[in-house]
């Protein structure tokens, strides 16, 4: 599918895919698509950083390739690996059958024995893919340096096969929860966008677009309550994902309002200390919701 022609068009396309992007995010994504730049998304937990990549893949009919980062991730898990077990079996089979194929060794390091990992897969797929590099801040800094190399020219050299280069690079979305500051060099390669919590009206819209079955009244009450929760001094303030979860839970139980909010708090508050704080203020939190 062709890329969007303007920011407005992209916003509309994303909306149809079930994602409400504000002007800033749409602009950032639009520029990223037009200029083939990776985009780095930072923001609080649960504001839809990962979701952006998923929806972009869905609405443009691209393949989503996800690289989940973690401490100790290395190139074997990110790029490619040779299938040693199969190579070994192949060698045994060759020697048992006394096959004298001059190309046998070359075949051993051919595409057949290559295990593609996300980055190689993405370079191969080129602009048919959205590459999501999730929680980059969890990976070690050495991995960041390596990623820098891949992101700058989208080409991967495999000594045995040769260099693979993407004709036109995939859309790359990096997300970070800011557990540590990323390296400046990596940031400089990327567009940067900070996703904050949405305003109340927008959040209601988001809930309704994600869960069309929910009544607008319930959505409004839930969002008001969640916005109040965020004002409290919680260790883990609820994200948009939690709002949607809570609304879905209440709707599933057939609740019309937050009168029995106490029983379903587990959908939004996921820390014991927080739960105590919330229970102390429960009346205040849900009472505002009644008024709305």
């Amino acid at each position: 599918m062709e890329g969007p022609g303007s920011v407005g068009e992209l916003t509309e396309t994303l909306r149809q895919g079930g994602y409400l992007a504000d002007r800033g995010l749409s602009t950032a994504l639009f520029v990223a698509l037009s200029l083939d730049r990776p985009i780095l998304l930072e923001g609080e937990v649960g504001v839809g950083k990962t979701e952006v990549a998923k929806v972009m893949a869905a609405v443009f009919g691209r393949k989503l390739i996800r690289l989940q980062c973690y401490e100790g991730i290395d190139t074997n898990q990110a790029l490619y690996e040779w299938d040693y077990a199969r190579q070994m079996l192949h060698i045994r089979a060759l020697s048992e059958h006394q096959v004298t194929d001059p190309d046998a060794v070359d075949k051993l390091f051919g595409p057949k024995f290559l295990l593609e990992r996300p980055l190689l897969e993405a370079v191969r797929a080129g602009d048919q893919a959205v590459l999501l590099i999730d929680e980059i801040d969890r990976a070690d800094d050495e991995f960041e340096a390596f990623l820098l190399e891949v992101l700058s020219d989208f080409q991967i050299s495999i000594p045995e096969i040769g260099t693979i280069k993407a004709a036109s690079p995939p859309l790359v979305v990096l997300t970070s929860n800011r557990t540590r500051e990323l390296h400046d060099a990596l940031k400089r390669r990327c567009l940067y966008h900070w996703i904050g919590y949405p305003a109340a009206e927008r959040e209601i819209e988001i809930v309704l677009i994600r869960e069309p079955g929910i009544s607008a009244a319930l959505a409004g009450k839930v969002v008001t309550a969640v916005q109040r929760l965020r004002e409290l001094d919680l260790a883990k303030p609820p994200g948009v994902a939690e709002t949607i979860d809570w609304a879905r839970t209440l709707d599933f139980l057939g609740e019309r309002d937050l009168a029995n909010a106490r029983d379903t708090l587990g959908a939004v508050v996921k820390d014991r200390d927080d739960l105590e704080v919330v229970l102390d203020n429960l009346q205040e939190i849900t009472s505002g919701a009644h008024r709305a």
Binding site: V7, L35, E71, I73, M88, I91, R180, G196
Partner: protein, 380 residues
């Protein structure tokens, strides 16, 4: 797509470059590469639309969340002329278009936070008294500084190590190394002659220093900051925080090479120097803003304070409990402990802290800091 052909390319680019220059002057790290991307981003957008202008710059020229406020200020000043500067026709034209669009509400993603920051900046500018208090930090005599530098050179903090997921080739180990085994087997015409092994690598745990710089600790804080500086340069990951009435992260200031400069910067960052002490509140801020994001996960947290807390003891108790759960080990340096081996914590803060502390040391002189340096690697 540039919808405004009447905007002649060159002067407009000049305007953008000047804007980038302003940002650079305001302290943002804007490279010429970024400016190129910024300009080409605007060719895809509508440069006459102020909102596009805003977002194109924010997404290409800003790469740090903390810089967003600065960007907003510069943008406002440059394109909206908050300071009443006449400007050239292009800027004026843009301003006119902004007025036509109504007031441009520069979106603030987090209203609460930016307000706080404004407040902090205002407080900083307004209070001469607080500014004067910096003096004690930077007013180290040359002899003192020389002595502290010797301390710095002598002590090297090495945090304990942990095993990582990664493996490296080893003579013996727990996992076979298929890659090397196959490679060697190829050399032997496909006959696996010998099995090679890998072993998990080890890494230094992060070290987090949280230093009390309040009045009751002022005598020690100078040497401690020097100590923090040397620790930060010992390799591995070191984060340094200061607190008195409020918590300040000074890791950035510790990164420069010259100790004097680092001290001066830390003094500038921690503007509650010699104020009161609110350990509980400060630790809670640490947990909320840094700890729970994973900064101290698996790390060694070293708190240096005398435990004289003016805040609510319950806050301190809960903060310490959470901190001890979030981090790997909690070390407390209390200079008032001195050399007395039979030291019993007498301040309320210390009594509250005692159950959560893994190691209590004094840290009042060079030898006690050396003791910390020798004990630290063993805190597995």
């Amino acid at each position: 797509m540039p919808t405004a052909p009447e905007l002649e390319r060159v002067p407009f680019t000049g305007l953008l470059v000047r804007f980038a220059g302003e940002l650079r002057a305001a302290g943002l790290a804007v490279g010429s590469g970024d400016v190129l991307v910024y300009c080409s981003a605007l060719t895809r957008l509508n440069p006459a639309d102020l909102v596009d202008l805003y977002w194109a710059g924010r997404t290409t020229l800003v790469s740090r969340h903390d810089d967003i406020t600065v960007y907003d200020q510069v943008f406002r000043r440059f394109f909206l002329g908050d300071d009443g500067e006449a400007g050239d026709p292009l800027t004026l034209m843009l301003r006119a278009s902004a007025e036509a669009q109504g007031a441009l509400a520069i979106p603030s993603t987090e209203p609460g936070e930016s307000e706080q920051e404004d407040e902090a900046i205002l407080g900083w500018m307004a209070s001469d008294v607080e500014a004067l208090k910096h003096k004690s930090f930077t007013a180290c005599t040359p002899e003192e500084l020389a002595a502290l530098r010797r301390i710095m050179a002598r002590i090297k903090l090495t945090p304990p190590r942990r095993r990582t997921r990664r493996a490296a080739p080893a003579r013996t180990g727990a996992r076979p190394d298929p890659r090397r085994t196959v490679r060697e087997a190829m050399r032997m015409h496909g006959e696996p002659a010998r099995l090679y092994w890998r072993r998990r690598k080890v890494r230094l745990r992060p070290l987090i220093l949280i230093l009390d710089i309040s009045g009751s600790m002022a005598d020690y804080s100078r040497s401690l900051l020097q100590f923090a500086h040397s620790a930060a340069r010992s390799g591995g990951r070191v984060e340094v925080f200061c607190f008195g009435t409020r918590l300040t992260r000074v890791t950035g200031a510790m990164e420069c090479r010259r100790p004097d400069e680092a001290l001066e910067r830390a003094a500038r960052a921690a503007f509650d120097w010699d104020g009161g002490t609110r350990i509980g509140d400060s630790l809670e801020v640490f947990i909320r803003d840094w700890g729970r994001r994973g900064l101290c996960r698996g790390g060694i947290v070293v708190i240096c304070s005398d435990g004289l807390d003016r805040g609510d003891p319950a806050v301190l108790a809960s903060a310490l409990e959470r901190l001890s759960r979030l981090s790997h080990r909690l070390v407390w340096l209390n200079p008032h402990k001195g050399d007395d081996p039979g030291f019993r914590p007498s301040t309320l803060g210390m009594m509250i802290a005692a159950p959560h502390i893994d190691l209590l040391l004094s840290g009042h002189d060079l030898s006690s800091l050396e003791k910390l340096a020798t004990l630290l690697p063993g805190l597995n």
